[in-house]
């Protein structure tokens, strides 16, 4: 499917998909009393786009920013791989749905992650393995931006460019905030895209909340490796969370949850009206 086709034919279903997923994410985190919402809301559109419009049967995906597990679980729920009952167990005792993706129990999750700087190396191994075995399919890896403080990410970048892993696509969720400051304050790597290019990898920058842009970037990539710098907003879609560092950590109270729900509903009504 081409970009124009996605934007014309599926924009209605994209709005609906985004609304349902975002509301379910808010509900899951609210009911479980769990934070990490900011980074989940920055990654959610990327994950929905991957699972609904990009990943094919032979493709594999590694969520390197394991703290985006909530968004991953909701994306898997939106495809039917997880149920409402599963999501209700999020963060509870005896759950399969731990705060970071688990090693066992969910077949769609290839690797447990959570400590940053592992996912890209794992994705390199999967991509190299596919090539050595002559298997079809691509490997996608989503990292955070703060994660690129980790030296192991750069080790993996050297490896994937040197070995020309043309079946690997790296996406960076650049929401500009990390654990205890903005990415510019803590360890400024901007312009990140230029650093990727300097390592010899094709790189492009997109709006990470415009699914048609991510879809088009992947569709137009005939041979990787490719790095996609996805500019996103931490807490996207909830006014009091957007670009606020504390929403890396805070759970919602009842009043905040209600406001967040209303804003998501309202945004979708407005998007539909714009069509």
């Amino acid at each position: 499917m081409r970009n124009s086709e996605l934007s014309k034919m599926e924009v209605g279903s994209v709005i609906d998909l985004r609304r349902k997923a975002k509301l379910r994410l808010l509900q899951m985190h609210y009911e479980s009393g769990v934070g990490h919402l900011g980074g989940n809301l920055s990654a959610l559109d990327i994950l929905l786009c991957l699972y609904h419009f990009i990943l094919r049967r032979d493709d594999l995906f590694v969520l390197s920013k394991g703290h985006g597990a909530g968004a991953l679980y909701v994306a898997l729920w939106s495809t039917g791989a997880l149920t409402d009952d599963d999501l209700q167990q999020f963060h509870k005792d005896g759950t399969r749905l731990s705060g970071h993706p688990p090693a066992v129990g969910i077949p769609e999750i290839v690797f447990a992650t959570g400590s940053l700087g592992h996912g890209l190396g794992l994705a390199c191994g999967l991509a190299l393995g596919k090539k050595l075995k002559g298997e079809p399919g691509r490997v996608f890896c989503l990292t955070s931006d703060g994660e690129w403080n980790e030296g192991s990410c750069w080790e993996s970048l050297i490896f994937l460019t040197h070995h020309r892993l043309d079946n690997l696509i790296l996406i960076v969720d650049c929401n500009g905030l990390q654990g205890f400051g903005t990415t510019r304050e803590v360890a400024n790597l901007e312009p990140l895209i230029e650093k990727f290019r300097a390592f010899g990898i094709d790189a492009l920058e997109i709006d990470g909340h415009a699914m048609e842009n991510l879809h088009a970037a992947v569709a137009e990539c005939h041979s990787g490796p490719l790095a996609i710098v996805a500019r996103t907003v931490k807490g996207c879609g909830v006014s009091f969370m957007e670009n606020q560092m504390e929403w890396h950590y805070l759970p919602l109270n009842a009043q905040q949850y209600e406001q967040a729900r209303n804003e998501v509903q309202q945004a979708c009504v407005m998007s539909s009206a714009d069509r």
Binding site: G114, H118, L122, A123, C124, A127, G129, I158
Partner: protein, 300 residues
Amino acid sequence: MRDVFCRSLVSQTVDPRLVFLTGDLGFKALEPLRDALRERFINAGVAEQNMVSVAAGLAKLGLRPWVYSIAPFVYARPFEQIRNDVCMHKLPVVLVGNGGGYGYGVMGSTHHALEDYGCLLTLPNLRVFAPAFDEDVSAIIPLLMQVDDPAYLRLGMAERPAECAIPAYACWRRLIKGDGPTLVVIGPLAGGLLRVASGLSQARCPDLWLVTELPMQALPEGLLESIRRSRHLVVVEEHTAAGGLGQMLSYRLAWMGHAPHRFSHYHAHGYVSGLFGSQRFHRAESGLDPDAIVASTCNE
């Protein structure tokens, strides 16, 4: 052991699942393996964290990756990758550490591996193989191609006494039967101990046992009988006391109700004088000299 390791692994290269990753080491040693494996031999560069994650990815697809470096660079530097990416997923990645213990001698403390299997055995699913003789390496490598768990292979310099027969490979072996103390050793120090023991009378000769795989499999009945008889267990290892064989074995025996009357433990003490030298120098500083061990434990 490195040459026999290379030769043995070359004989496994017919298995298309075998992939070998090196952290930029193996010059004048691993060239035959490189030539046999071609695109399945990967120099991953001086980047051990990535190398272990890549190996986990390969193993996830059903391949059999071996990851090679100087011992500390393969277990200490990428410890979290071993823990999270390999062990938590129970993937059949073989970590190969060359130069167990003080193997790299005067190269210095950064190149020594004094706490390798102790650290690694805290991780889930991982098995350690510490061969004592070159023949053990030849036996272990086909075994490792069949093991479905993560594994660590600790290579060193074999010291087999030419005149002594060695029993066929097993995880527990009695190297020589004597009426002296029960002596349990892991790794190449076994060679020196066997050499010294074989020159002793039956009465003074230790009952010398070699263990090669950790965690220990069931203790042989002959070993338990020996400890009951001798009432003195001596454990020898080129590894720190913390997390070492001595702790594992004494714990197991206490738990089984077979605690020995007397327990002696010869192990690595780090850098006693603060000076550096050969593997022999460091062993001697830690009291790991086979002649001295036998002299002090087998003279009653």
